[in-house]
Structures are given as structure tokens and as C-alpha cells.
């Protein structure tokens, strides 16, 4: 049977522990999607945790050769949460994204450009076909999330129009 650790005799009084503080931290953890908060000051340490059970899903073990530097998968996930979901223009298809009509041209739009819903803002090439990608709303382009000529996945965030 696993013994509970820390069965050492306690001599100190507990009255200096601020139960309200513990409560506050615990509730904070409940509210957020964090899994653990630990606070330490002097000899006071408070730790609250939740087993989120974000079960460590099978992942290629550490020794697996690092995947080739492929821009496709990585940027999507981290980029998304920073922006209001409704502002993000996502790729409707898998392919290669182009920011300008031809290599010599200027980009369709840049960060700071004002766009109107339906305006062509990017191209995605798939099967030798260039597909127009249009703004899903009117507004100002506040962030460009892809590089010119880079591969994009379906649903990958392309830019933010706020």
C-alpha cells in the first residue's frame, strides 16, 4: 500500500495558515483550465492541483527522429488561441499559400490593410490551380499568420481581420 508521505510529527500551530487564501487559489484553479498552482512564500507553501487527465496521448517517443522542418502542422495550434476566433480567416483547403498574385507583384494586402468582406486577400494553389481566398469579414488585417509560398493545411489560420 502506498504510504502517505510526510508522516513526520507536526508541532507547529496551523493558525497562521490563511484558509481564505487557500480557498481563493483553489477557486482560481477551478475557474481556469490550469492543472496546478503552487504558491510559496517563506515557509508557506500552497499547492492546488487538478488531474486534468489530459492523458499523455501516445506521442512519438523522444527518440523519434525530429520531423523535417515542416511549416504545415506547427504554427496552426499556437497561433489560434491568441486571436478572437471570429476574426481568424482559415484556409478552406490544403495547398500552398501565396500572398501576391505573382512573384513580382506587391502582396494583395498587408498588416494594417483595410479589407472588405469578399475581397481577394490570398491565393492557395492546389493541383496547379490557384484558388482565390477572400476576406470572410470586413475590417483591418491585424496579423498575417503565414509566409508567402508556404504549405497550408485545411483549417489553418491564415490571417486575422479585426
Amino acid at each position: 500500500m502506498p504510504k502517505t508521505p510526510g508522516s513526520k510529527p507536526a508541532r507547529d500551530t496551523s493558525s497562521d495558515i490563511d484558509a481564505g487564501l487557500v480557498r481563493e487559489i483553489a477557486l482560481l484553479l477551478s475557474e481556469t483550465d490550469l492543472s496546478e498552482i503552487e504558491v510559496e512564500r517563506g515557509d508557506l507553501r500552497i499547492r492546488v492541483a487538478r488531474q486534468t487527465f489530459a492523458a499523455p496521448a501516445p506521442v512519438a517517443a523522444a527518440y523519434v527522429a525530429a520531423p523535417p522542418a515542416m511549416a504545415v502542422a506547427a504554427p496552426a495550434a499556437p497561433a489560434a488561441p491568441e486571436h478572437d476566433h471570429a476574426d481568424v480567416l482559415k484556409s478552406p483547403m490544403v495547398g500552398t499559400v501565396y500572398l501576391r498574385p505573382s512573384p513580382e507583384s506587391k502582396p494583395f494586402i498587408e498588416v494594417g490593410s483595410h479589407v472588405t468582406a469578399g475581397q481577394k486577400v490570398l491565393l492557395v494553389e492546389a493541383m496547379k490551380t490557384f484558388n482565390d481566398i477572400v476576406a470572410h469579414k470586413s475590417g483591418t488585417v491585424t496579423a498575417m499568420l503565414v509566409d508567402d509560398s508556404s504549405p497550408v493545411e485545411y483549417d489553418q489560420p491564415l490571417m486575422v481581420i479585426a
Binding site: A55, A57, V59, V72, A73, M93, V94, T96, A126, M127
Partner: protein
């Protein structure tokens, strides 16, 4: 050999293909819908590309998306798995047009075998036994009797213009024939305005037996024994075994050689399965599947071949490295398709797997893309995985299956594990005494009623 294979599928077969590619030292690209971003093969692949929303038509069946994924990753070959685009001749052609190797047979052969009438015609021409019957419509009773006696009773009298069971009558003996003819003609006339009928051999309790073949497209082909897939529910295979308890070595060799020979004539390329109904020592062609099949692992267990590896080698242009006499089948193997379904009602049970512990030990193989915490999406089929066992004898395999089933834990969703635990303890299954109707009868008779 290929540099990078794109796996145009999902679930356990995607993982199966990934494993084979890794073992060959070939890089892998997983494509997936937004519903499958947490799939195991996506996590294990060298690269992954999201190709569309959950609906298969927009993702796994999305040919432009798949080709774009090949383009941006530089994949030089595509493995289609089973289902989805695996028997789509157009996809095979488009791949060829884009200089991407399609790991499967020539488009021409996919097309022939995808057309029921053309397939049967080709099979017959290649010497594969088909259900015997009258060549065309019959109007004369004497001619009908001649044909019936030639193909043997019972015979099925079918409306030539028919379909859907209308105008179909069984004549069990010569005495029944004229009445069956009369009734069928009347019904046919009423239903289709045409009283022409034709005769076909009627199979009462057939088994489903299929032959695995491999061809290299250069005229070399072998068969790798049979699989008995008679345990079916609503035409879905549930449990498969090899060798079939119904065949002896002579029968196996004879039908196997017919199939291999047909594939040599056809210059078939890749893995394929020729499916038969089997009754009273005779085989009757149903169809040919021009792809890898769900139940391929049992053939691997007794042959020592890795069929996915063989598919890849053949697609890369390698001739078969073995002849028929090198194929040495040993022991017995059984596969259970473990689905996320209620074991008695078969109600699908998608959802999160809360605890997952597959069985291990000698002679046990689990092909599954499931893991603890994995959410089985409601968008696709309900397979959790395949439990495959092998033993030196059928009895050893059955006992092994029993103990492996008792170790297998999948919590959080319903699974068909309890069905298999019941089947492996059933004396008719133990005796191998089952046909394609057995499982539905077993269920209808309340075989799983005592399941909680």
C-alpha cells in the same frame, strides 16, 4: 523504393500502413480530417496534414486535397488502405497522372472488378468458378429441367428483368420445378411485364471463403491461402479465421491455384482477394476486392508475410521474391473485429476511451489505433481495433483467443468484446460448424440476451 508515403486513410489501417513504412525506413505523411487530429497515426507520422472537415467526402474522399497534400509534402506514393478511395480507379489514374505511385493494382483492374457484371464475366473467362445457371432467359419447361439437372438442385428461379427478390422462387427438387417456374413467371410478368426467367444454383448454407492473392504485374502471382469469413452480421464480417475449418489441403490447394493462375493471366499487380461462397465442396465466385482487407493479418500470421510491405514493394516495381512453393502456411489464426458497439444491440458507442489495456503475451497481436484518452469520433466506422491470435492448432488459437479476450479492457464505450467472449465459448464455433447465416441466427435466438 519510395522516399515518402502519404497514408490516405485513418484508424487502424492508417497505423498499420505507417508501421510497415517505418519498418521499411520510408518517411510517412498522415492526412487527417479535423475530427482525427488526435489520431495515433497522426502523432506517430513524420509529417501530418489536415485535409478537411470531418465529413469523409470533404477529407478522406477529397482527391484534390490529397494531391495537394502530396505536393506540399513531396510524397512520392499514396497508400489508400481499405474503404475510402482504395477501389477508386479514377483516383489511381489521377495519382499516375501526377507521378505519384498508387499502392494498389492498375486502374484497369480496379475498374473491371468494381463492375459486378464485368467482374463475373472476367472471372469466368479466367477459369474462376462462378454460380452456375442458364446463360440467358428460359421460357421452356423442358429446357429449364435440363439446365436444372445440369447445375443440380436446389435451383433458384429468377426473373430475368428482376431485382429486389421479386419473381424469385426456390425449387428444391425436380418435382418443385414446374410450380416454381410458373409462379416466378407470373410474378415476373406482373412486376416487370416480362415473364422471362433464368435459373441459378441455389446455396442454402454457404460459407464465405476468400483467397488472398499477390501479383507483381509482371505475370507472377501466388495465393496465400484462404480466410473463412462466414461469421457475419448484416453482411459485415465479425470474426475471421484461417485455415477454414471446412477445407482440406487438396481443396485449399486447388482453389488457391485457380486464383493464382487467374491473376497470372491477368498480370494483376498488388494484393487482392477473391471472394467465394462455398457449399458442399464447391466454390462460387462473388467478387474480387482489389485492395488490402481488414482481415489481412490472419494471413500474415500463418504465412509470415507482411502484406502491406508486399504491397509497397510491388508498387515500387519489385517482382515477387517468392514462388508458390515458397509460401508455407503454418498453424491457425483468428481475428476479432472489436467495434465500439453494444455487444447485443450493436448500437454504436462513440466517445472517450477512459481505460485501455490490450492483451499481450505469446501469439497475440493487437492492431488498434485506440489509446486511453482517445475519443472515437462519431463520423466514421466504429472499429476500436482488431485482436488477432495465432496458435499451432485451431484449438490452441481458440484457447489463446479466450484468454486474450479476458485480458482486453476498453472502458468508457461499449464494445463487442462480450460478443466474442460468448462466441469463443460456443460449441458450434469451437467445432467450426457455422455458415454465413449462423451469427444472425445466434443473435435472433437470444445468444447475447444474458449480456448485461
Amino acid at each position: 523504393m519510395f522516399e515518402k508515403i502519404l497514408i490516405a486513410n485513418r484508424g487502424e489501417i492508417a497505423l498499420r500502413i505507417l508501421r510497415a513504412a517505418k519498418e521499411l525506413g520510408i518517411a510517412t505523411v498522415a492526412v487527417h480530417s479535423t475530427a482525427d487530429s488526435e489520431a495515433m497515426h497522426v502523432k506517430l507520422a513524420d509529417e501530418s496534414v489536415c485535409i478537411g472537415p470531418p465529413a469523409a467526402r470533404d477529407s478522406y474522399l477529397n482527391i484534390p486535397g490529397l494531391l495537394a497534400a502530396c505536393e506540399i509534402t513531396g510524397a512520392d506514393a499514396v497508400h489508400p488502405g481499405y474503404g475510402f478511395l482504395s477501389e477508386n480507379a479514377k483516383f489511381a489514374e489521377i495519382c499516375a497522372d501526377h507521378e505519384i505511385a498508387f499502392i494498389g493494382p492498375k486502374a484497369e483492374h480496379i475498374r473491371i472488378m468494381g463492375d459486378k457484371i464485368e467482374a463475373k464475366r472476367t472471372a469466368r473467362a479466367l477459369g474462376i468458378p462462378c454460380v452456375p445457371g442458364s446463360e440467358g432467359g428460359i421460357t421452356d419447361d423442358d429446357e429449364a429441367m435440363r439446365v436444372a439437372e445440369q447445375i443440380g438442385f436446389p435451383v433458384l428461379v429468377k426473373a430475368a428483368a428482376g431485382g429486389g427478390g421479386r419473381g424469385m422462387k426456390v425449387a428444391r427438387t425436380a418435382l418443385d420445378l414446374s410450380e416454381a417456374l410458373a409462379t416466378a413467371r407470373t410474378e415476373a410478368k406482373a412486376a416487370f411485364g416480362d415473364d422471362a426467367v433464368y435459373l441459378e444454383k441455389y446455396l442454402e448454407k454457404p460459407r464465405h471463403i476468400e483467397i488472398q492473392i499477390l501479383g507483381d504485374g509482371l505475370g507472377n502471382a501466388v495465393h496465400v491461402g484462404e480466410r473463412d469469413c462466414s461469421l457475419q452480421r448484416r453482411h459485415q464480417k465479425v470474426l475471421e479465421e484461417t485455415p477454414s475449418p471446412a477445407l482440406n489441403q487438396d481443396q485449399r490447394q486447388k482453389i488457391g491455384e485457380i486464383c493464382a493462375d487467374a491473376m497470372r493471366k491477368l498480370k494483376y499487380s498488388g494484393a487482392g482477394t477473391i471472394e467465394f461462397l462455398y457449399e458442399n465442396g464447391e466454390f462460387y465466385f462473388i467478387e474480387m476486392n482489389t485492395r488490402i482487407q481488414v482481415e489481412h493479418p490472419i494471413t500474415e500470421m500463418i504465412s509470415g508475410l507482411d502484406l502491406i510491405v508486399e504491397q509497397i514493394k510491388i508498387a515500387s516495381g519489385a517482382p515477387l521474391a517468392y514462388r508458390q512453393e515458397d509460401i508455407d502456411l503454418r498453424g491457425h489464426a483468428i481475428e476479432c473485429r472489436v467495434n465500439a458497439e453494444h455487444p447485443a444491440t450493436f448500437r454504436p458507442s462513440p466517445g472517450k476511451i477512459l481505460y485501455y489495456h490490450p492483451p499481450g503475451g505469446v501469439g497475440v497481436r493487437v492492431d488498434s489505433a485506440a489509446y486511453q484518452g482517445y475519443v472515437i469520433p462519431p463520423n466514421y466506422d466504429s472499429m476500436v481495433g482488431k485482436l488477432i491470435v495465432q496458435g499451432r492448432t485451431r484449438n490452441e488459437a481458440l484457447m489463446r483467443l479466450r484468454r486474450a479476450l479476458d485480458e482486453f479492457i476498453v472502458d468508457g464505450v461499449d464494445t463487442t468484446l462480450p460478443l466474442f467472449r460468448a462466441l469463443v465459448r460456443n460449441s458450434e464455433i469451437q467445432d467450426g460448424a457455422y455458415d454465413i447465416h449462423w451469427l444472425e441466427k445466434f443473435l435472433a435466438a437470444g445468444g447475447m440476451d444474458h449480456h448485461e
